[in-house]
Amino acid sequence: MPKKKWLGENSNGDVSFTVVTLSGSRSLVVQLEREGTKVIFGMPGGANLPIYDELGHSNIIRSILVRHEQLAAHMADGFARVSRKPGVCMATSGPGATNLVTGIATAYMDSIPMVAITGQVASTAIGRDAFQECDIVGVATPVTKYAFQPMKSSEIPLVVRKAFYIASSGRPGPVLIDIPKDVQTSEAETEFPSSIKIRGYEPVIRPSEEEIRRAVELVLCAERPMILAGGGVAISGAFAELQALSEMLMIPVATTFKGKGVFNETHPLALGPIGMHGHIEANKLILEADVLLAVGTRFSDRSTGKVSEFAKDSKVIHIDIDPSEINKNKEVDLGIVGDIKVALQMMVEEVKTRARNHDLKSWNKHFTEVKEYCKNKFAKDMTKMSAVSLLKTLREHLPSETIVTTEVGQCQMWASLHFDVIEPGTFLSSTGLGTMGFGFPAAIGAKVAAPDRPVLDIAGDGSFNMTEAGLATAVLDNIPVIVVVINNGMLGMVAQWQRLFYGRRYNGVKLYNLPDFVKLAEAYRAQGLRAQSLEEFSKALKLGLKSDVATVIDVPISPEEDVFPFVVPGTALKDMIIA
């Protein structure tokens, strides 16, 4: 078949050709470029070589090599959380594809837009247990919003268009495209789509005005109203709307852990996250609310504690873009389906036309007093090195626009409790799946999306160990992120549970401070620093912020520091253990 000339696009982005003859891998790269893809995190292998060959010819797409595919998925995830566009990751068939799955599942649980592209054995070999064959569509179906397997190269542009559309619209999530190798290489007359419509998929963006009016009425009639903001606020970028609504009505804002930092945590109306390791004042006060406006949250068990006890005496309004979340975990009084940004905008407009029925002075006084009381009563010693003083020091030294990621476990919960997020949307954590090893590659992805901002991973030694090979990518691709390893030589959270629930019988939790993270960083030609005191930590942090190479700061702390408060699983928020 003779190759037709590639004509490209005009300045409006309209395609100036209709049908051209292209290979599957070429049309994949072209369509990725048309979707605005600037970077792909991935690793080549036997079944995606044709794609990598085409990527090498692209002047638009930067290809970032990882040393393990799980990192590629987390990097794409971090990139997506910051750029609020789908992150793209790539792997070969079989083990490459299965290595992506943890990262895909992480994105799925946190509703992060991602397009994962995997190579597959030739279509003629599928089902024959060929070398590096894995039914990745079958594996990934429960953890993706959709999984495609185009069997003709001419289908690829439309599949890619649909994948980006599905991943980024409605409740976002990861989408897999699995492309057999012969589909990548075969040439066909290929049409590039301009717009698409998927008949079974029409997310509701604009909530019903009637329901918004009812919600506003309920909130205005409340004597002790409270907002519970979840991750949906960050996904829809409704930070300003949330703040406007809260300030207009003087309603305090608690968040879920996924919602941490969607509302400036130093704001007088901020209460911080509720939940298993929520702020004491947030866990106390949310149970006192008579009307709870929950936006963009799924009432996860980690947030609510025993759900039958959660907000049982309040009227609950729940706004979410996913209709299947309404009444899923928590029966609510008013469920509203729609995009959080649009819904909050509508509420703000509605509030402007109304007079408030109740004076909230006494409620405001009360929660300010409770906040103040908790702050003084549970203040920690800031002179000695501990996880708490470390994180407070960190907050003092970091510019407010810094993007902070976390690993999972004690380091994550300490960050939740003791690191106040100032600029909304700058805190990224694997909150749903709780994936250890997420924070470092997510920080790399975040730095790629926002190269001018400092990016720092609050890590534990156990978690950082899982994806430390990302140092190679950070150094070779000039992505200077900072990792602060809060090093207790333990799988700290597991150890804490063994102390509390298993009679201090430590089993499988001691890491013996191996490896030496300073030497490890140096082995990758990164900057490795150790801080034994808060002063040393401040100095190291300054070096890290100035450095043009990735920095690992190892901070040894006590192996037995606990995270408190703690709501024991299965118990109610009111039964929180303070210390």
Partner: protein
Amino acid sequence: MNSLTAYPSQNTSNEPTRGGETIKDSQIWDNGTRTNNLNSIVYAIVENKRGVLHRVSTMFRAKGFNIMSIAIGGTIDPELARMTIVPSGDEASLNLLVKQLRKMIDVIEVGTMTRDKSIPRELALFKFEAPNSETMKRTFEYLSNSAGAKEVASTSRSFVLELCSTPEEIDSFIAKTSKLAELKEVVRTGVIALQRDDP
């Protein structure tokens, strides 16, 4: 043909039996299809393409939904298929199931049908051993005829009947006839149903 207006059949006196023993509901559900204790049958119009059944069944498993039966077939539009699902569980779980189905990208339309407003049908094929005595044979024929079952194949040793009816009628038919002749095999399609139009 029996009247179907009494659906769902409430004739608890006619417990289904197999080989003379009463069969528990759970056993029937393990081996065949019956309706649930809910008042609803769910239908879904889905894309008629590879992988859709896998996605739907994966969702059922992942979300912990149990179903009594699922039946799938073509529609007037060759690009669409129709699934008829008889869920088990309570009203709340039915609502969640419908929402989860509706959320799926390959699912175009989801609806529930109440029993009194729908026409449910199931097709069953039975292979019986020939009855031992002439009396039993005649009783068997009487039961078959009155149930509307049709003989579709026979040899000297066995014969095959087909019966299209409500799941309850089919259960009841099994219960009555298996006392007269040994039921060797039964195949059931699962329930399909159409909404009844308002008069």
